[in-house]
């Protein structure tokens, strides 16, 4: 009990004044009564004075409102809220490594099932010492069940069916984890919360950030024990995300399929990829896949013409979230076609003797040789024999690629050079190999205009070959930065191996002198040391719709060691296909169009990227406006400008805001600057994406274990995931059972009671009665 003045300290001054006033009043009364009072005995006077002082004091005390405070204590059990995520992502299969999952039957291995098991385990322990409340949350939070307290362990505990009667399956569209924590804290504000148990995959899709809610819990001194479901990896799934294959392929040539395979089974995963053509297995490849995205290639050689169905299959694994995405089907039109190559060589140099078999070995190449120095009645070599050089534009256009190998300029007419230039201008390929016999200076002297235009390099027309010079000082050849990334110079798919291959090529002794390189040309190979270091050895440029490749080396046969014809052949295959691509495939394939994802929700930004695989093509399009067209299912179109990367990377990019639901096709089609016809584009590439209503819950199927761990750490709680969930019972033991002690205070006003009032009345009455009795009135 604690006395106090309810009127407060401010009234004391007023009470002093009142007391002084009363003293004066009593002094005046005594003065008035002085004569009558003289006859009273001293004890009578003392009695009267005492009574009056008591009454005055009581009056003053009453004005001060004296009171006493009474405190009452109450003991209650602490509360443990178990907050369960009921969003649809909890319906995904849980980690196979989770011991609780392993203990559940196969049909109950969802994250939600594991959460129910955990909740059941915890409540069995906690209901003996705590008040346990089960909450469920998705976009809102609701109390599912209050678990009745059990006196003894032997008392039956509530079963999971009953516990989750209100939420047997996870159906919520959102996972507002932060909101749920806040809601529970608010709901249980009056209770002592020993700890909050959060059962979730942590993948928040809405509401306040988890960190913010964690801070609120930390302020409220409520440890949040985070029990995370799922793994840091997306769900077990092996899927083929993308298959890149040419819509048309040559009969008898290699048809490559480049696949983007997403592996969420294990890391690494040893599996196999099967390729079927019209249901018949045509190839199988063993793969070792890393977790995440993997680019894989598989190939076949189609032997039947027509539109063929190719199916790419991966095996289906247990517990895969989607078993239908393990295969993909593409249709490819197989047509009989070849690259017609005309090799015009001035003399039978050693390079010529190696080059001819290398080209004859290529199954797509239909080679015609024309050795200018050959006997008049000589039967020229090649798959298709020619007797003379083409004599009309139509004749030249029968060839897709022409190789001018140190030609004798006097054995080819200016008219033929002009016709050949037309062939290149309209999509053909030209390779110019300089040599020591005639040299390019002589070629330029004889056929100045067209040859100068065609060449990607500048040649001094007066620098005729000095045949009396000895070349005994070797020099290295090195790829430029452009060359290192260019398809022509790729002798192995693997970058490291490719570099190693190039490092093994021996030194060379002779190269054709070059004055400079044209602005739109790109140097691929240069001198690595010695006099003229950095001088161009190989360069390319796009020439209208075609392309021209220059080689200032006439002894590539040095590359035959140490891999015999393997790298040598591959280089030539690369060059010929690069130059003949426009003819072979209708357009250049040196671009790749892609979007950052394959499916989007309405309103999301679609990033469109047009990547250039050929730096020469990028250079050719410098300053040109590049557009992409996005066409919807209803035929509505939108033009998206693609701008060059500001950092100078080899791509152009633009963005499109997804509006309507449905399939969208992106197309980039570009005519050559100064090209012959808009109808014949330099490249024409397409890609597609989907716009659909999709739950955010499906976007990322991995658990956000980091967020859950951080939440536990932030609030001082414990953290469990699939690695240590077997020890979940330790959590129940770690939650303190300290009871909640409630103290209630109440104040009783001393003056405001019957006793005080009666005493006051009695004293007043007594004083009045004594005055009357003693004749003072």
């Amino acid at each position: 009990m604690k006395p106090t003045l309810l009127a407060g300290q401010g009234i004391a001054f007023f009470l002093l004044i009142l007391a002084a006033a009363l003293a004066l009043f009593y002094a005046w009364v005594y003065r008035q009564e002085a004569r009558q009072a003289r006859r009273l005995a001293p004890w009578q006077r003392a009695t009267m004075q005492t009574l009056r002082i008591i009454v005055a004091v009581m009056a003053v005390i009453a004005l001060g409102r004296p009171a006493v405070t009474l405190v009452r204590h109450e003991t209650r059990l602490p509360v443990v809220p178990i907050v369960v995520d009921e969003s649809v992502s909890m319906g995904f299969a849980d980690s196979r490594d989770n011991p609780i999952v392993q203990a559940n039957p196969p049909d109950r291995r969802r994250r939600y099932d594991t959460a129910q098991s955990v909740a059941e385990t915890l409540q069995k322990k906690l209901s003996l010492t705590h008040r346990v409340k089960i909450f469920a949350f998705s976009d809102g939070t609701r109390l599912l069940k209050e678990i009745p307290m059990r006196e003894r362990e032997s008392d039956p505990a509530m079963g999971r069916e009953e516990m989750f009667q209100g939420a047997p399956n996870p159906t919520g569209e959102y996972s507002n984890v932060g909101d749920a924590i806040n809601d529970v804290l608010r709901d249980l504000a009056g209770d002592r919360i020993s700890g909050m148990v959060l059962l979730s995959d942590g993948r928040q899709t809405g509401g306040i950030p988890i960190k913010e809610a964690g801070a609120a819990a930390a302020d409220a001194r409520v440890p949040v024990h985070a029990v995370a479901f799922g793994t840091e990896y997306p769900l077990r799934d092996l899927r083929i995300d993308e298959v890149i294959a040419d819509p048309e392929a040559s009969l008898g040539d290699v048809l490559r399929f480049r696949l983007k395979i997403h592996n969420q089974i294990s890391s690494p995963l040893d599996t196999k990829l099967t390729l079927l053509e019209e249901g018949q297995q045509v190839n199988e490849r063993k793969l070792k896949l890393n977790r995440g995205d993997n680019m894989v290639e598989i190939a076949t050689i189609p032997e039947t013409e027509g539109t063929r169905e190719f199916k790419l299959k991966l095996p289906v694994y247990e517990d895969e979230v989607d078993k239908e995405n393990n295969e993909a089907t593409v249709h490819v039109k197989i047509v009989k076609r070849t690259l017609r190559v005309l090799l015009i060589a001035g003399n039978p140099s050693r390079e010529f003797l190696y080059l001819v078999p290398a080209l004859l070995r290529d199954p797509v190449v239909d080679l015609s040789c024309f050795l200018q120095s050959a006997d008049i009645d000589y039967v020229q070599q090649g798959n298709t024999t020619i007797e003379r050089l083409p004599r009309s534009v139509e004749d030249w256009k029968k060839f897709d690629v022409v190789i001018l190998f140190d030609p004798d300029p006097n054995r080819i007419t200016t008219q033929q050079v002009a016709e050949m230039e037309t062939m290149v201008r309209t999509g053909g390929g030209l390779m110019v190999i300089s040599g020591r016999n005639h040299g390019l200076a002589k070629l330029i002297q004889v056929h100045a205009v067209k040859v100068r235009e065609l060449l990607p390099v500048e040649i001094d027309k007066n620098a005729l070959p000095d045949h009396f010079q000895y070349f005994e000082r070797p020099f290295t050849s090195e790829r430029t930065a452009v060359g290192r990334g260019h398809a022509v110079m790729r002798l192995d798919r693997d970058d490291k191996t490719n570099d190693a291959v190039w490092a093994t090529f021996p030194k060379l002794y002779w190269a054709h002198p070059v004055m400079g390189v044209k602005s739109q040309a790109r140097v691929l190979l240069q001198k690595g040391d010695g006099p003229g270091k950095g001088e161009c050895l190989m360069a390319i440029h796009r020439y209208y719709e075609g392309a021209v490749f220059y080689s200032g080396i006439d002894c590539l046969w040095f590359w035959r060691y140490p891999s015999e014809s393997y790298d040598y052949d591959r280089f030539w295959t690369n060059v010929i296909r690069y130059l003949g691509e426009t003819r072979l495939k209708g357009t250049q394939q040196q671009v790749a169009l892609s979007t950052d994802r394959h499916s989007y929700s309405p309103g999301e930004e679609v990033k469109i990227t047009l990547r250039f695989l050929d730096p020469a093509l990028m250079a050719q399009l410098e300053g040109q406006q590049i557009l992409a067209t996005v066409t919807g299912a209803q035929g509505e179109r939108q033009i998206v400008p693609l701008r060059p990367d500001p950092k100078g990377e080899m791509f152009c990019a633009g963005s499109y805001r997804a509006r309507r639901v449905g399939s969208m096709v992106v197309q980039a089609r570009q005519a050559a600057p100064g090209g012959s016809s808009e109808a014949k584009p330099l490249f024409d590439v397409k890609t597609a994406f989907q716009v659909k209503m999709q739950s955010l819950e499906f976007r990322d199927t991995s658990g956000d274990l980091d967020a859950m761990r951080e939440l536990a750490s932030q609030t001082g709680g414990k953290y469990f995931d699939y690695r240590n969930m077997g020890e979940i019972e330790e959590l129940a033991a770690a939650i303190p059972p300290d009871p909640q002690v409630l103290s209630k205070e109440s104040q009783v006003e001393v003056w405001d009671g019957t006793t005080f009032f009666l005493l006051f009345l009695i004293l007043i009455g007594a004083e009045w009665s004594l005055r009357k009795l003693w004749g003072l009135l």
Partner: protein
Amino acid sequence: MERKSNMRGTKSVRPGSGTFVRGAARLFAVLVAALLVASARTGVPEAGEAKKAPAKEKDAPGGEPKKETPKKETPKKDAPPRPEGGKEAPKGEDAKKTDEAEKLLAEKEKKRGPSFPGIDPAFLVLPRRGERPNTAAQILTPQVREMTEKALDYLAKTQGPDGGWGDMQFKPTNTGVTALACLAFMAEGSRPRVGRFGKAVDRGLEFILKNVKKGSGIIAGAGSNELGPMYEHALSTLALLMASGDMPWKSELHEVLGNAVDSIKKSQKLDGGWRYAMTNQGDSDMSVTANVLWVLRTAKKCGFTVPKDAVEKGVKYVEKCALPDGTFRYRYWGLHASPSLGGTGIIALCNDGSLDHPLIGPARDRIAYDYQRYTIEDLKARRYFVYGAFYASLGMYSCGDEYFVPWFRKAVAVLATMQRKDGEFFDEYDNTVYPTAMAAMILQVPLGYLPIYER
């Protein structure tokens, strides 16, 4: 290259003009061959005497030679790729990342086999490799490189002031020996006036060109074989053909080569083959015929017209010289086969346009068997070992690594015991230049810089 006897060990017979003379010559040749057989039984083991071979390698199979098949030595799949000059390409994963598409094409082409495309084809096209091979780097060991360097240095040192090379039997200088020396330098990668030995090649070829006989077109100088200059002419023509695209300052070269090819064509004998003398009279021999066929096909590659029937007749002659066990007789009516002719047989038959000629397989297997079975000393003791090995290298190389690599290793082992301090190799007549040139070419086969080695 031999003055008094030909290289196969039979006495040469000068062609007569009458039937009696030819018949007598044949009889004489048969008698000489019989004598040689008798001498061979007491000397160097010949192919037909496999059972009586005095020494066998421990792992050599016994029994009849023709029933034996050589062990195939295939490169290890996971061997580190491309070691060279101390450098090694990344191992393991990278080595496995061979382009699958290339493999597919290779498999497809392998099924198809070698091809000879065109109307009148000159180029033999062998299937492309499915994987990047590293056998060349493996077999081009430091020892082989050292042997090669010493051999090339020896050749460089022995070049005459006129630019030519001679030999113990071919003094002072000889176009055939010079051609072989030039080819040895070309196998290193040198070209006329370009490369380490560019000057030497240039001088050597100049020497050959100086020895072109006006009118006949025959390329043979003073030191030529007295039986006839066909070897010198053929080898000189071959060397000039190999350099013909790299000698722009020699405007007359095409004409010289044209005449040289014409003279070969004119020298084809009635039996379809060729021999030392550059006339169409007399009998042919297998060795010269094979050499000439080889030159003719190279000439065809280089733009010279070579009549189909000339080649066909030549090949038929070689077929007649062949025995079913994969050996070849020096002359088709000979009694006994010569072990050195296996390689010449293969390259001669290849010149008909395919590697699937029914006689090539047995010939290849026979060479493989011989090199596997006989000891280094046995092989070294063979007559004209380096000569035979040179032609065997041409034939075995075309047959693929599974045959070539084990053969090459054994050949190198034999050559290693034969190389002298100054780097030279030798034959039984103490010729050192032409054996050194041939040995240098053998040792440099893995480089793949000389187009006479076809794949």
